[in-house]
Symmetry: C2
Subunit: 437 residues, 2 copies
Amino acid sequence: MAEALRIGIAGLGTVGASVARVLSSKAAELTRQCGRPIIVAAVSARDRNRDRGVDLGAAQWFDDPVALAKSADIDVFVELIGGDDGPALACVKAALEAGHHVVTANKALLAKHGVALAEIAERKGVLLNYEAAVAGGIPIIKTMREAMAGNTVSRVFGILNGTCNYILTRMEAEGLSFDACLKDAQRLGYAEADPTFDIEGHDTAHKLAILTSLAFGCKISADSIYLEGISNISQADIRAAGELGYRIKLLGVAVQTETGIEQRVHPTMVPTSSVIAQVHGVTNAVAVETDILGELLLSGPGAGGNATASAVVGDIADIAKSRPGFQHGPVFGRPAKELKPYKKAQMRSHAGGYFIRLTVHDRVGVFAAVAKRMADNDISLESIVQHGSSAEGDGSKTVILVTHETTEAAVRKAVEGITKDGHLIDKPQVIRIERAD
Amino acid sequence: MAEALRIGIAGLGTVGASVARVLSSKAAELTRQCGRPIIVAAVSARDRNRDRGVDLGAAQWFDDPVALAKSADIDVFVELIGGDDGPALACVKAALEAGHHVVTANKALLAKHGVALAEIAERKGVLLNYEAAVAGGIPIIKTMREAMAGNTVSRVFGILNGTCNYILTRMEAEGLSFDACLKDAQRLGYAEADPTFDIEGHDTAHKLAILTSLAFGCKISADSIYLEGISNISQADIRAAGELGYRIKLLGVAVQTETGIEQRVHPTMVPTSSVIAQVHGVTNAVAVETDILGELLLSGPGAGGNATASAVVGDIADIAKSRPGFQHGPVFGRPAKELKPYKKAQMRSHAGGYFIRLTVHDRVGVFAAVAKRMADNDISLESIVQHGSSAEGDGSKTVILVTHETTEAAVRKAVEGITKDGHLIDKPQVIRIERAD
């Protein structure tokens, strides 16, 4: 039997405690799989005395996570502190510089400092594994980094935030308002007290930024992502989508275009008959399209202590199976120094179909004016649904347009024109349509 | 730059030629990902002169694949000959004994000799990779063998045969008969001239047997699989399924039960709202349920030269990233010598819901007799659909029963009883229902 692999865990919250429990309860099976034992040699957390359902008495205790990261008594440093700077960054840097492998679930950290950290890891010849950082338990990093070797990716997209998907699922299933669903999500612990980070798409953006780098061999650029959250999605949108054969999901999408890479996070219409449309509740899903393999989709739990811990344990097991002398694959698919600069595509040139919902005055000539603005901008329409006068009796009418493939610029110009015409009662709603099988 | 990894490919059919083309066209990117070049050093095939869209002039030619397998000029032997014995087995054995890593897409070979071959690989300290053997381009082997380390699997199930899924999809979408769809599948190259192997479930069984071993850490036992194909699925079944909120798929299912492992391949009703129900055409999908991660589903192309080649190239890239001194994980998740004996659960004790379609004489008392047989066997019913007298005017009537969870033994007894009662005009149709999200 080879020597045990010694793990140091910084952060013993929900995920950290679950990792410690799995390493303990599944010790025999992991030893069999990896050819050597994996032991929790050291830990660091805020509260030393909390009961975490696992005996950590044999592990060395560190008050300072950076001291743990540098400790000569560990082989692998597991960072579960969180945050895109501060102690998490200091720890991971220190661990890599000390020649320790690192496993992290920290998407914010990687979205901001991933390339710099990868450079250190590759210089020191250690692994930096981060399966848990994107889509929780779904092995999308392993799939893109290892299984898709040799594939050229054209598009990657997914449901990367369970909170948003939970809210959208309940809004559709139960006809509830966004606010009511958000409150329930908060009550059930699926959403934070301040839900902005989730519902405005920032969390999705962090994960997408990491996937984009892996997909296209470019530097991570989380700041270049077009961002639109789900807080302005109404029952009217969800019902109209359903009538037209679509379902609304918050997607992160990255596409290689002729002018550069397009990264966007926004509410998206996907065909109800597609696989991704059936991904309900807090479940996540990621789809990747490549030249050789074709289209692959993975769905599963995107959050939660156990699912995330499963990804962390998988990362640790991969390290346990490696040995000195093993040449590790690069952190982001190609060596960090050879990652291409990120070249952003102009969002105004995004091409695709659009759903446009207009609340207009119920008077003669409005529909003709709307149709003219579309035609003037060369937008051809796939379908037009005009609902009769509203039940509110306020003289409003709803017009729903679904366009064939057109450009973002054309849609924006058409909608500006319609707004200027003075027929609108309410803000126009524009939702992009994404092709999905 | 480290030394090149030298590949020997035996079998240059659709998949083999595609592998050679990818290794050539993506050489630069693969070198970057793996830290060293991968070169096709030797090949063996039936026809030396066929144009395969890639220049293999620099590769050493072997008429005898076993000689290629033993050659000291290769590091990795790629077996794409096919067949569960004969040259494929001889080659793979010879390559492993010669200390070469092996990559194979051969499910039949592994279903029959997988454990014996794994023992040789583990004794020689080389890798035996077989991602392409199950579900083509879907990285289910990597996911179960690596990403799910530490997880205890309770159930694995999937759509593992594209031919069957293509036929069932078209039957439902277009209302065509099984025979008409099979003919089209043959014309399009999705089905063999003799389609028995696919449509009677043997191909699915081979793949399931491999997944079962990975899932439960047991020896491969393809012969223990309960087998039922799709050739007796009629439009009546598909329509009735749709009315009840189900879709029919040929699934391979392996479940850990209290009495042992249940492996079965049969037409299955899955809820229309489930993700797996949306997997259409030749696409495959595999779902795995575990204690830590929860439920994960992967869907993608299950066959085809390129998709299969993608999996083979991924396996080769994993070997390229390893180096001497690397301790490989076991072939089937736990060391071959420690795989548990396969303990078969009795199919008669299978528990689940059932769909039962009966064509009965349209006369008084039939329904009461059917209901009594169900009650006598403690089968409680979820729904009963009784269609009016048939359009054929032949005095027949259709009764469809959907049961709550019950046992295979109870259902068989009830159906035997109903048959004895003499009310049936046609053979009763029994289709199992599988829980899926």
